[in-house]
Homo-oligomer: 105 residues x 2
């Protein structure tokens, strides 16, 4: 479940959110969006969870900022984001960060 | 549960880990370490979870790289890290990243 990532630098998109309620409609949209992200050039992988109260952290790793910008402007992603804002998310914060160093055990 | 952070840039330390087993000894050490981090200059806040299988994500936010370095060399933190490696962690990855932009709903 720990994502295998290349030597830094690479990028991490940290998406923290709270859902209005956890239901199958959100799960379905989330899986479709995830499957689309995995096909994008520059996508490395992700680490995520969501608890029963609707709080979740989703970190996706990307090769570079250009890959993140392409994903930002992807049509399926934009529709999912709009639907998420209007129906699913109580609140969220998305942070785009550059991983400068890492180490593993 | 979503951490309030200042205008970028700031830093995120993404710590993903798997425990050998989830027990009260780890929880106790984790709480003491967290309390010590909160007193460090430059500490902003954190977002975290751990599931029943022992997989966890812990993201701490820091003002700058100097704050992270001071925390890295803190004696209590170094002891907790050694104990974690010898007793608690099956594996982990720690990533130090610079948050370049963010947005919230």
């Amino acid at each position: 479940m720990i994502c295998k990532t290349p030597e830094p630098p690479y990028y991490a998109v940290i998406f923290t959110s709270t859902l209005n309620e956890v239901d199958e409609h959100y799960s379905e949209m989330s899986e479709l969006t995830e499957a689309a992200a995995e096909k994008m050039e520059g996508y490395i992988g992700n680490e995520h969870f969501r608890n029963e109260d609707g709080f979740g952290i989703h970190i996706s790793y990307w090769k570079d900022m250009d890959s993140i910008k392409r994903w930002k402007h992807d049509e399926l992603h934009k529709k999912a984001k709009q639907k998420g804002i209007s129906e699913f998310y109580k609140n969220y914060t998305v942070r785009i960060s550059k991983v400068e160093m890492d180490s593993s055990l």
